[in-house]
Each structure stands twice: as structure tokens, then as C-alpha cells.
Amino acid sequence: MLKGYISPYNATVVQKLLDQGAVLLGKTNLDEFAMGSGSTDGIFGPVRNPWSYSRQYKEKTPPKSSSENEESDWVITGGSSGGSAAAVSSFTCFVALGSDTGGSTRNPAAHCGVVGLKPTYGLISRHGLIPLVNSMDVPGILTRCVDDAAVVLGSLAGHDPKDATTIQDTFKPFELPNLIDVRKLCIGIPKEYHAPGLSSEILALWSKAADLFKDAGAKVIEVSLPHTRYSIVCYHVLCTAEVASNMARFDGLEYGHRADMNKSTESMYAATRREGFNDVVRGRILSGNYFLLKQNYENYFIKAQKVRRLIANDFVKVFGSGVDILLTPTTLSDAVPYMEFIKEDNRTRSAQDDILTQAANMAGLPAISIPTALSKRGLPVGLQFIGHSFQEKQLLTVAKWFEKQVKFPMIQLEEVKRHDCSVFQHQKSVSFL
């Protein structure tokens, strides 16, 4: 739909980075209109996870017997901001921006072994972010370490008069301490996040992480977020409804693709939208319009809004009872091979893969995925921290401590082995003046 479209203005987040002296290296691939959890449904084709070509993966996962197709084993990046995650993971750039509506930044971050930060809703401007679900979207930040994420957050956060949903308070950029004491912290482990389909590997890692905190003197307790299991269904209704609304503007009249159809305005609209949108997008538009019909509105949309309130209240209750940070897995498993991923359709995949990340978007809370360890197959696994609204400093501080403890290994890409390894240390890449 937006083939050949060049936006005549810069998004606020992009402009802020440029104003700070950032150099734009390029734009990355994603699922079309950010709908998907694999970055496989974009017009430029699927995104390949750089870890597919890492020594770690190749050693652990022997290639399939048919030698002709060495390529068939590559794994997905997760999505929808897979291109951005892959770019950061493969050392192509210092930071990449993504979007996060149901986990689209954290999911690929976990699969690609990078840090994926979803800020609190209203902290960073959405002006220039093509909307998926206006009430849940946030720009996401992907970096190789937590300190980098803090730096980028510092230059992006703050009120934007062009976005009426950003908060008015002035944001103070912060630097993370190097010595962190977790003894005063209370870490919550929500039992509902032990979701069906969660791999035993990740379950074990999650448990090990909890022990890490306990051993360091933090209080680690089990908590309950009882409405978690409704979040996928609720998300489906609200997401498709907003999508149907947001996509209504793509008619070929003012910009973008226009079908070569002259019979009437309506037939031109219909042809343009049929040609310009893929199946996934069209499916969501149809669902969304169905839920918004007068006769369905009360039963679906309003109901979903009420359930959303319940989900958000779960977090309020838990955070109000003394819990500082929640610790959960980010994904159900490590990255699956592309050939396997495409056996299920986009909708099914999204429903499965969003389950651990989605609720934070419902509640507008900040969340971050930290690369924790490699799986049996030699692929990255990440764990997620969810914090209080607008308490990014505390969230990132805890995340940084955790990052230091786990010492996630560096990706060993064969081609880059020739270069000086010292360049790629997992330390602060930028000094904060």
C-alpha cells in the first residue's frame, strides 16, 4: 500500500535522534503494518535471524540431510520488528527503533539476543508512528546492552505537543548506576505466565533467574495476575477494531498505491485496498469492522474494554502490594525455523506468541526483554521485566544488574571473526557525558 511512499515529515523520535547527531543507516524490514510475530509477512520477504548463521547455532543444530538446501534451516527473528532486531544483533548499527503493540519489540529482541525496551505508554511520542492500535502502540528501542537503551530513552522521552497522548511532565534523562544493590527489591513472579506451551528450557531459566535475585538478597514472591488468560482474546477484539479504523485512510486518493480502476470512487477504493493490503491486514480489518457494528459493539468492543480494565487492575493491585518488578519469560520457546513457522497462519502464530508480552501493552506498562542464555539449539532466550508506570529508571537498573549477572555470550558470526574482537565487547558502547 505504501510502495514508493516517502513521508514528507520525520517522526518525532526520528527527528530527536537526528537532532542529537545520530546517523540514519537505513530502514528495516518488518511484518506488513506491524501485524505479525515472525517478521515473515512483509513485502520484501521474511527476515532471517542472524543467529541462524552463528557458530553457536550451527554447532548445536546440524543441517538437515538434504545438502542442496543449506538455507532451509534458518530461523525467524520473531516480530513484528524483526528487521530492527536483526540489524542490532548483527552489529549493523548502534540502535534500531521498532514498535511495540503486543510485544513486537520484545519478541524479536528475545529471539535475536538483544535488549528490547517497551517504554510506558505516553512517555515517547507516537507522532510519525504509523498506528496499529493507537491506545497500545509505543515506539520500541532495540540495543545490545541496557546502558545503550537508557541513553536512547533519554533522548526520546518527553512531551510532544504533536501527540496529545504524551504526558505533560518533564522527563529527566538518567544514567544508570554501576553498582546496584537489589536487596531492597521485591520481585514478583506471576504464576499465570507459566503458560501452556512454555518450553521446559525457558521455564528452567526463569526459575534460575528468580533464584539469582533471591541469592542476592532480593525478596522474590509468587503473585497472581488472574485475568492474564483473557488478554489474547481481548487484544484480538480491540486490536482488530482499531486496525479497521486506522486502515480506513488507505484509499489511494491522497498517497500510496492507487489501483488502475476508473469506474467509480467506490470501485477504485475496493481495488486499491484489495491490491495494497496482504491477507493478514485484510483479515484484521474485516474482523475489526465486524466488532464495531452497532449490533456487536456492546458485546465485543465494550466488553473487551472492560476486560482490559480488569487486566490493568491486576497489575495495579500487584504493584500496589509492594512488588517493584515482575519477572517473566518473553517467549514460549527459542526461535523456530522459518519452514516450521509458516505452517501455521499469522493469526494463530500471533495469538500464541503474544501471550507473554501482550498484557503489558494492555496496561501501558514499561517492559524490557534481556538476553539471558542460549538454548539447547544454540539460540538466544530472553527474560522479561515489567515495571511500574513511568518508572523506567528502576526497571532499567534492575535489568542492568541482571544483564551483568548472566553475561550473555556474544554472537559468533563466522564472517566477522576476522575483525578485532575487542570492538564487540558487551560493555557500554557510548559514554554518557
Partner: protein, 556 residues
């Protein structure tokens, strides 16, 4: 393949109306037309509706009229974006990225538009909702780039008000009656762009200059019963809006657009099916369109037909309403809350937090204190201050600048306001109307008129002489009244003796009349003689004095 005339789909119903099937009138009850006799011979005295409708009551049809009035807010920029608001600019020259619905753009609320809506709500006696919400109303149309309009469907900014207006009964200015129509709500919403259909080339041209301009939609309850009432209500609303400055409300420039909802039913029965009439371009046409539609519906029902719940367009050339080509009947607008705009919170003196930056909020009480005098208040003041009749005050306010002109003349003359008003309304206004001039463009300034009236008041000239001077002044040659009087020798004859001589000569010439006078003191004859004297003196005689002299002479 040329496309059929594309038209806007009808907006949602302003309020639920009961639909009933009207019982067709028995065949012997014909629709009585104005002035053509009554069907039942009963006389009903209704203080409100003029005589045409009295006939309708006798034919037992009750017309019901409600209005949806879209008012363009007078502001520098649009409701949700910073592009300029201007009439008749080159096409697509006032379009921001947001107006063109470029992806990633977001709405930001314009404070001035909110204030305009609050002002209007207060002027119409509404309760202002301290918290109101924005919604999206979805439909596909070329002049709606985003595929939805941002409006206020769930909770509008103002509700439950009233608008009072006055009507003359039986077209006599002397009898005015005040009526009230309830205002259901006022909501803020975006205007759409304009589309022009070029059927010759099978294309539609879209101009987005107007897309996103702030509108207040004023929805009335169906309290009116005829075209005249609707027109009077709209006229009063125009005056109120212009006084407030919240809109210039010029229908010809599309700043005020009226859709009329019309239905008829028998008394005591539920409301009939209503139609919506659009494409009404002036207050005059509004009255015509409503009356036509009422008539059409009655005739349809009397002939055993039914009324469709449809949208009709008023054709001003033919003076009738025609159905607009509707698509699938009822439209489902799939209303959804606008997620990019938080609820609109307004404050008053009580609820305003102490440390709140007053630049960031709209304070209802602050606005209320600064409301100017509304037309009804101004009219009452004029009547009280100057002792003029109520209907005079209406005319004064109806004409842009006339009230100020009148007051300026009063200030500069010794003539009593009650007399001045006659000169303003009869002489000045009719001259202006004849030459299609506004008060602003009048060649006779208030200063000049006052000067003239002073001459009259000091009895230096007669009133008929004054009229002659006024005619001269209209030429706009810059002469003062005194100069004209001197040039044309219009001074009143002050010399009693000269006057008596003239009277005598008239009497001498009009023997027949004199005889009649002697016989019978006939007033008509006397007036004729006075007139002759006036003519003889070329208007330079004081009629009162002349009358005295003649009477005296005739009695001798």
C-alpha cells in the same frame, strides 16, 4: 461510464423518534390551502402558527420540524491541526499532513474551538459538560481522507439548552410572539472537504481546504412546526453567533448549514416517519423547503401513500425536494472512541486546581463573565432606553450596523428616539435596500442624518422638505443638509403674513371646496387644501400652522 451523482450518506439520527404509520385521512377531508376557505368551518385561535397552518390543524395534521445546524467555528486554524481556515482559497492550499490523513499524524485539539463551543453553549442556556469525549464516525467518501470523522457522539460538550426567537403573526410587524425551541446538544466535530463531480469527464475533484475545519453541530429538538418558525430560529441563532464571534454564520459562504428533519402526524398519534432535507442555502430557502416538504408529506399521506425515511435535497430553482440517491439505506457508522484524544476536561471557578497553568485550561466561568450582550438583551435595552417598539428593535438588530447607526444619530440630535426610529427604518433603510447597500456603505452618515433631523426638530424645515434634502444627500456629494436647504430654498416660511396670503389665494381658487367646508367641516377637504398650500409653498409650510390658518379663514 459516467458515474451517478454521488451524494453524502445521511448522518445518524439526532435522537430516536418513534416511527408510526399515520392513518390516512378520510377522503372527504381535503387539504385546505391558504386563503381558500376552511374545511370544517370551525375557527381555532392558535397564538403561534400563521393562518396557513391553522388550516392544517383543521385538516388535523401536525407538522413536526427539527433542525441540525452545522456552524463553522471562526478560528485561525482548524480543529485538530494547524492549517489555516479561510474561505475561497486556491484548492488544496490549506491542507496539513494531518488533514490529508498522512499515516502517523495525530490530532491536537484547538483551544479556540473549545472556547467557541463553550460560549455558544452558554449563550443557548446549555449545561456545559465538564468532561466530554471524542469519537470516530466511519464511512468512506472522497472528501473524508481518514475514512472517519472525529466527532462527539457519546458525550458532547454542551446539552439541554434553549433558543428563543420571535415571529410576526400574520405578517404584521405589530404583533410579535416569542417561541422557544429546545437545544438537544452542541457537539464539536470536523468538517469534511469538498468534492465536485465532473460528470463530463467522469471524475471527482477533491478539495481538502475545508477538511478538518472546526464545526459546532447544534441539534434542536423537534419543537418547530413550520418553515417560518425554522427560519426565525435560524436567523436568531445567526445573530447570536455573530454577536459572540464564535462564527460569522454566513450561509452563503457555507459557514452555517442547515438540515431539516420533517414529519407530520395526526394529533394524539405517534410521530410520523421523518425525512431529512439537505442542500438548503439560505434562510429564505429553509422556510420554503420545510413548508414544501410538509405539504408534500401531507399530500402523500392523504392519497394513501407512505413516507420513506430518506434524505431529500432541496432544489431552489424548482422549489421542491427531491430524493437523494441513497446507497444501502441505513448506514452503520461503526462509532469508536477516538484513542488519540484524551477526554476534554473543562473547569469552572470551583473546580479549577490552584496551581494549574491557566494557559492550559478552559474555564467556563471565565468565559461566562465575558459573554457580550446577546441579541435579546440588546433588543430589550434598546426598547427600554429609547422607548421604541419591540419590532423596531428586531429590525435594528437584523441589519448589520443599523443599531449602532441609530444610536449614533440619537447622540447627535435633539429629536426624540421615537421619531428618529421612523427616519431610520422607513427612510434610511428603504433607501439602502433599494440600492442593495449595507449600513456601512451608506452615503448618508449618522452625522449627516442627525444634522438634518436637527433642522427638522428646530422647525427650520418641514418634514416633506427634509425628505427632499435626504434625497439630495443620497447623491453623496458631500453637501451638508443646511447647504442643500439653502440651495433649494426649502426653509419653512416663518412669516405669518406670507403664509396667510398663500392660504387665502388657495381658498380663493378652490371655491367648491370652500363651499363644502362651510357646509360640513369635512376633514378630507381640509387636508386637500392643506396639501395644495404645501404644494404652493413647495413644502416650505408648517402643516400645523397652515391647518390653523385655513380653519380660521374658513370659519370666517
Amino acid at each position: 461510464m459516467s458515474e451517478a451523482l454521488r451524494t453524502r450518506p445521511p448522518p445518524p439520527s439526532a435522537g430516536a423518534r418513534r416511527l408510526g404509520s399515520p392513518r390516512p385521512a378520510p377522503p372527504h377531508q381535503r387539504l385546505a390551502r391558504a386563503g381558500e376557505g376552511r374545511s370544517q368551518g370551525e375557527q381555532h385561535h392558535h397564538p403561534g402558527p400563521p393562518s396557513v397552518w391553522r388550516d392544517l390543524y383543521l385538516a388535523s395534521w401536525v407538522p413536526v420540524v427539527g433542525l441540525e445546524i452545522h456552524v463553522q467555528i471562526s478560528s485561525n486554524s482548524k480543529l485538530f491541526s494547524g492549517s489555516q481556515v479561510q474561505f475561497a482559497a486556491p484548492p488544496n492550499s490549506l491542507v496539513s499532513f494531518f488533514d490529508a490523513s498522512l499515516p502517523g499524524t495525530l490530532p491536537v485539539l484547538n483551544r479556540r474551538c473549545v472556547e467557541a463551543a463553550v460560549m455558544t453553549g452558554l449563550a443557548l442556556n446549555c449545561s456545559i459538560n465538564k468532561k466530554s469525549l471524542f469519537d470516530r464516525k466511519h464511512y468512506f467518501y472522497a472528501d473524508l481522507p481518514a475514512g472517519y470523522q472525529i466527532t462527539q457522539q457519546r458525550v458532547p460538550i454542551a446539552v439541554n439548552g434553549s433558543l428563543s426567537y420571535s415571529l410576526c403573526i400574520d405578517n404584521k410587524m405589530s404583533q410579535m410572539v416569542t417561541k422557544t425551541v429546545r437545544i438537544k446538544q452542541i457537539q464539536l466535530e470536523q468538517d469534511s472537504g469538498k468534492s465536485l463531480h465532473d460528470d463530463a469527464r467522469s471524475q471527482t475533484l477533491v478539495d481538502l481546504n475545508r477538511a478538518g475545519v472546526g464545526l459546532m453541530e447544534v441539534v434542536t429538538e423537534p419543537d418547530m412546526c413550520c418553515g417560518e418558525e425554522a427560519a426565525a430560529a435560524v436567523r436568531e441563532l445567526q445573530l447570536i453567533l455573530q454577536t459572540l464571534g464564535s462564527s460569522q454564520a454566513i450561509m452563503a459562504e457555507g459557514q452555517l448549514r442547515v438540515d431539516a428533519n420533517v414529519s407530520v402526524h395526526h394529533p394524539g398519534e405517534p410521530y410520523g416517519v421523518r425525512t431529512e432535507v439537505k442542500n438548503i442555502n439560505s434562510v429564505r430557502f429553509l422556510a420554503k423547503a420545510v413548508d414544501y416538504e410538509i405539504q408534500r408529506q401531507i399530500e402523500e399521506l392523504e392519497n394513501g401513500g407512505t413516507i420513506l425515511n430518506e434524505t431529500r435535497s432541496f432544489d431552489s430553482k424548482l422549489g421542491c425536494t427531491i430524493p437523494m440517491r441513497d446507497k444501502e439505506g441505513k448506514q452503520d457508522y461503526r462509532f469508536m472512541p477516538e484513542p488519540n484524544l484524551p477526554p476534554l476536561i473543562l473547569y469552572d471557578a470551583k473546580s479549577l486546581p490552584v496551581n494549574m497553568n491557566h494557559q492550559q485550561v478552559v474555564n467556563i466561568d471565565w468565559i461566562r463573565e465575558r459573554l457580550p450582550d446577546l441579541p435579546s438583551v440588546k433588543r430589550a435595552k434598546l426598547v427600554e432606553l429609547y422607548g421604541i417598539l419591540p419590532e423596531h428593535s428586531f429590525t435594528l438588530l437584523n441589519e448589520d450596523g443599523l443599531a449602532e447607526y441609530f444610536e449614533n444619530v440619537i447622540k447627535q440630535t435633539q429629536m426624540k428616539p421615537k421619531k428618529v426610529i421612523g427616519w431610520i427604518l422607513n427612510d434610511l433603510l428603504s433607501y439602502l435596500k433599494q440600492h442593495a447597500l449595507t449600513v456601512k456603505d451608506s452615503p448618508v452618515s449618522s452625522f449627516l442624518l442627525a444634522d438634518l433631523l436637527n433642522l427638522l426638530e428646530r422647525r427650520e424645515i418641514s418634514s416633506s422638505a427634509a425628505k427632499q434634502v435626504l434625497e439630495e444627500l443620497w447623491k453623496g456629494e458631500g453637501k451638508t443638509p443646511l447647504k442643500i436647504v439653502k440651495e433649494k430654498k426649502l426653509e419653512l416660511i416663518q412669516d405669518q403674513k406670507e403664509l396667510e396670503q398663500i392660504c387665502q389665494s388657495v381658498i380663493d381658487r378652490q371655491e367648491d371646496e370652500v363651499i363644502m367646508m362651510v357646509l360640513g367641516r369635512n376633514q378630507k377637504v381640509l387636508n386637500k387644501l392643506i396639501g395644495l398650500v404645501q404644494r404652493a409653498t413647495r413644502g416650505r409650510s408648517n402643516p400645523v400652522l397652515v391647518k390653523q390658518i385655513l380653519e380660521k379663514k374658513l370659519s370666517e
